[in-house]
Amino acid sequence: MSRQEVVKSNSHMVQKEMITRNYDRITGGTAKVSSTFVPGNLNELLMCFDIANNLPEINAIQNAMRKKSGEMIAEAERSGHSEDVCTYVKADIGMMAKGNIAPNGKPFPDPDVLLLSYTGCFTFMKWFELLREQYKCPTVMLHVPYAADGLPTKNMRDYIVKQLKEDVIPVLEKVSGVKFDIDRLREYLRKSAIAENDLVWMLESSKRRPSPVDCYFGGVYYMGPIFTAFRGTDECIEYYRLLRAEIEERIAKGLCAQSPDGDMPEENYRLVVEGPPNWTSFRDFWRMFSEAGAVVVASSYTKVGGVYDYDGFRHDPGHPLESLADYCLGVYTNRNLPTRVDMLARNLVEYEADGLLINSIKSCNSFSAGQLVMMREIEKITGKPGAFIETDLVDPRYFSAANVKNRLESYFQMIDQKRRAGGSAAAAGA
C-alpha cells in the first residue's frame, strides 16, 4: 500500500468512526433524539440540550450506498406514495416499514422531537407531517423565509431569531429537560467557525492545477462531518485539520484528485457540477468522470448544508442566535435563481473550469426547477458550455448507466472540440 493511500484512509477512517459513534448514540437508548434535515440544521443548538441528531436524508444515502434503498422505495410505493415523490422520503418511509433498522444494525428509537427547519424544500414539511403521524411526537418548525431577492433582510433574520427564542428553544428545553445556556451555544459556534475555515480552504484548494481534490465525488465525503451531527465539536475541528494536512501533502506531491481506484493519472477536464449526485451507482458514476480525467472543481451540492465560500459566512459566537439565522437563510436551496446562477458562474471563472454539468434529479423539485434556465444563463455569462444529465438520488431504477455515459462522453468531446475550435474551423471549411 502506498503512502498516500494510508493518508487517505486516515481521514476516511476517522469519519467512519464518527458516523458509527453517532449511530450508536442515536440507537443507544440513553440520549434524547431529534430528527432534522441537513440544509439549515441546528446542530449546535441541539448539542446545547444533549439531544442526538438523526438525519433522515443521511440514512437514505447510507441505505442507497448499501444497495438497500430500492426495496425500501418499493415498500413505500406499495403503501401508497407516488412514483414522483422525492426518493429520500420514500427510502425513509420504506425503512420505517421494514423495521426501522439503523446502519449499525440496531433499531432506530422513535424520535423525541422533530425539528423542521424549512429551507427552500417544501417536501420537508410533508415528510415530517408523515413522521409526526407515525410517532406522535412534538414537532417544532423553524420557518426560514425564502431569500427571494437574493439577499436576506434584517427582518428575516429577526423573524428567525424570534422563532428560535419563542418556539424552538422552549420546546427543546421541554423535550430534553435541559435549560438553555447561551454561552454553551457560543462555545460550540466558536468551534464550528474553526472547522469551517478549514472546510473553505479545502473547497478552494481545487483552484490549483491539477486540483488535489474532487469537490463533488470527493466533496460529499469531505463535507460529511460539518453538514451532519458534528458541527461545533472538537472532533469536527480535528477531522478538518487532518483532511487539510492530507491535501497539503497531495499538493506538495503534485497529485491529481482521487478517483474510486486511486489517484487520477491526469486532469483533462475541470467541471463545475450542479445538483445532488446519484447514490445508488455512486462509484460507477464517479468512474465515468475519473476515467476521462474529469475532476469536479466546484459543486453546488457541497453547499447544500451551508454556503461558506460564496459570501464568507462563518458561525459567529458573538451573535449566536443571529448567526444561526444567517446560516439557515444562506443555505443553497434557500437562495433564489439569480444567486445560484451567480454562484456557479463565479465558480466557473474562478476555478478555471471547462464547463458546467447539471445532474438533474428526477424527484427533487427543489434542485431541479429552473436548472435549464440556469444552464443557459451561465453559458451566456461565461461562454463556457453546459450539459445536462438526468439521474435520481437513491432510486436504483432511475440510473441508466448507458444513457449517462453517452451524454458525458459527448460532453467531454464537445469540450475537446471547443478547445480545438480554431483547427476544426479550418478543417470544416476544407
Binding site: L372, E379, N406, S410, M414, A421, S424, A427, A428
Partner: protein, 432 residues
C-alpha cells in the same frame, strides 16, 4: 490512396461512409446490425469500399457510362449472390459430416444439391434488369428461396424438413459473418463487368476501355488511413478510445456537412432522440436527449408496427391517409399498445390513430429540442424516422406553429449523417 472512414453503429443498422483526402464522399455502405457489431462494422465498411470503387470507375469512364454502371451494379450483386450461395452450400455440406447425420447423409446431400442448383438457376432471374427484390440482404433473399424449395425437396426424399432447416440456420450465420476480401470483390466486379458487356445493349462505352478502366480502379489500394466509430454500438468495437466519437458530435458535424447552414439538428434514431445545436463550423454548442426510456424513438414505431401487425415502413403511408389527428396521450412503449387497442376497440380509424401517434412522437421531439436551446434556422432532420413522411408532416406543422417559417432540410442520405461526421473526424485526426 488514403481514405477515411466513419462507421455509425446503430441499434438496427450499421452505416459506413468513406471519404477521400478532400472530404469527398466516395462510398456509403449499410447493413443490419444483427447482434454482432464487429461483423456489422466489417460488412458496412466493405460495402462502402465497393461503392467507392464504383464511384472511381464512374469517374474514370465519365458521364456516358451511366447505363453501363447501373447494369454493372446489378451484375455485380448477382456475382456477390452467387459467391455467397456457393459459400452457403459448402458450409451446409460441411455439416453433413457430423455423426448425427450418418444415416441420412446421402439423402440430405441429394436434397441440398437439388435446392442449391435450383436457387442458382433462379439467380439470373432474381437479379434480372428491373426485377423487384424485397430486400438486398443475402440472408433474406436466399433464406426465403431455401425455405420454399427445401420443403418440397424434403417431402420428395422423405427426410424431415426440420433437419434441413437446422443445417441452414447454422450455416447462414457463418456465411453472414464472412466478409469477402478485396481480391474476391475484385473478381466479382470483373465478372460482373464481363456479364454486362456481353449482355447490356447500348452501353456506349468501348469494351476494351471499360475493362482497362476497371483494372486500373481495382488496382488502386483503398488504404484505411483512419477509422472513427460512433453510434449505439461504438463501445463494443475493438477500437482504441481515440477512434470513438459520440454520436451527438458526429450527427452535428454530419448535418453541417450536408447543409452548411444548419444550426439545429433533430436526430431520431432507434434508441434515442437528440436535439443538437451547432455553430457555423458544425461544432456542437449544446445538446439534449431523451432520458432513460426510449419513448418516442424509432423503436417505439417498431413496437407500434408489431402491435398492428404491419411493416415499419407501412406506418407512415397509412398515417398519411388520416382525416383527423386525435390526441394520443402516451408515447410510452408500455402504454401505447394498450391505448392503441382501446382506441381501435372504440372504433377509431387506424390511419387516424397512427397520425396521432406520429404527432405524439414529434411533440416529444420538439420538447427535447427546446430543452437544447430551441430551433434556429436552418433546421436539419436526420435519422431513420426522417424517412417517414407522416412524421415529417407532423414535424413541419409543429415547427411552424412554434417557431414560424424556416428552412427544413432532410437529405435522402440522412441515414448516413452520423457516419459522415465520423469520416470527417477521421480525416481531422490525421490532418490536424
Amino acid at each position: 490512396m488514403r481514405t477515411f472512414i466513419g462507421i455509425d453503429l446503430g441499434s438496427t443498422t450499421t452505416k459506413s461512409v468513406l471519404v477521400d483526402e478532400n472530404l469527398a464522399v466516395l462510398g456509403r455502405g449499410i447493413t443490419n446490425s444483427r447482434s454482432n457489431y464487429d461483423v456489422a462494422a466489417r460488412v458496412s465498411k466493405q460495402e462502402a469500399k465497393i461503392a467507392a470503387r464504383f464511384t472511381l470507375f464512374r469517374n474514370a469512364l465519365g458521364k456516358d457510362a451511366e447505363h453501363l454502371l447501373s447494369d454493372l451494379e446489378r451484375n455485380f450483386r448477382l456475382e456477390q449472390f452467387l459467391s455467397a450461395l456457393r459459400q452457403l452450400e459448402e458450409t451446409c455440406m460441411g455439416y453433413l459430416d457430423h455423426p448425427r447425420f450418418q444415416g441420412t447423409k446421402t439423402a440430405l446431400r441429394g436434397s441440398l444439391d437439388a435446392v442449391f442448383r435450383k436457387i442458382e438457376g433462379e439467380a439470373q432471374e432474381i437479379y434480372a434488369p428491373g426485377a423487384a427484390r424485397k430486400s438486398d440482404f443475402f440472408r433474406d433473399i436466399a433464406g426465403s428461396r431455401f425455405m420454399n424449395l427445401a420443403e418440397a425437396a424434403c417431402r420428395e426424399a422423405d427426410i424431415p424438413f426440420e433437419t434441413m432447416l437446422n443445417i441452414y440456420d447454422k450455416s447462414i450465420i457463418d456465411v453472414e459473418s464472412r466478409v469477402d476480401p478485396d481480391e474476391t470483390v475484385a473478381v466479382q466486379m470483373k465478372n460482373g463487368l464481363t456479364r454486362s458487356l456481353a449482355s447490356a445493349e447500348g452501353v456506349g462505352v468501348d469494351r476494351g476501355e471499360a475493362l482497362s478502366a476497371l483494372g486500373t480502379v481495382l488496382a488502386i489500394e483503398l488504404e484505411e488511413t483512419y477509422v472513427v466509430g460512433t453510434g449505439y454500438g461504438r463501445v463494443r468495437l475493438p477500437f482504441p478510445k481515440e477512434h470513438i466519437r459520440s454520436e451527438i458530435l458526429c450527427h452535428g458535424l454530419g448535418a453541417h456537412m450536408m447543409f452548411p447552414g444548419t444550426r439545429t439538428v433533430l436526430d431520431i434514431g432507434g434508441q434515442d432522440t437528440k436535439g443538437i445545436q451547432v455553430d457555423e463550423n458544425g461544432i456542437v454548442t449544446s445538446f439534449q436527449m431523451n432520458d432513460r426510456c426510449a419513448a418516442g424513438c424509432g423503436r417505439y414505431l417498431g413496437y407500434i408496427a408489431d402491435e398492428m401487425k404491419i411493416g415499419l415502413h407501412e406506418l407512415g403511408p397509412i398515417a398519411m391517409k388520416a382525416t383527423r389527428v386525435p390526441r394520443i396521450n402516451s408515447t410510452c412503449t408500455v402504454f401505447a399498445g394498450a391505448e392503441l387497442r382501446d382506441r381501435l376497440a372504440l372504433g377509431e380509424r387506424r390511419e387516424d390513430i397512427l397520425a396521432g401517434l406520429h404527432r405524439a412522437i414529434m411533440l416529444r421531439a420538439i420538447s427535447i429540442i427546446s430543452r437544447s436551446g430551441g430551433v434556429t434556422n436552418e433546421f436539419t432532420f436526420t435519422g431513420g424516422v426522417a424517412k417517414n413522411e407522416a412524421a415529417v408532416r407532423e414535424l413541419r406543422k409543429l415547427l411552424k406553429e412554434n417557431y414560424g417559417d424556416m428552412t427544413i432540410n432532410i437529405s435522402p442520405d440522412s441515414i448516413y449523417t452520423g457516419a459522415l461526421g465520423g469520416a470527417n473526424f477521421a480525416l481531422r485526426a490525421v490532418l490536424n
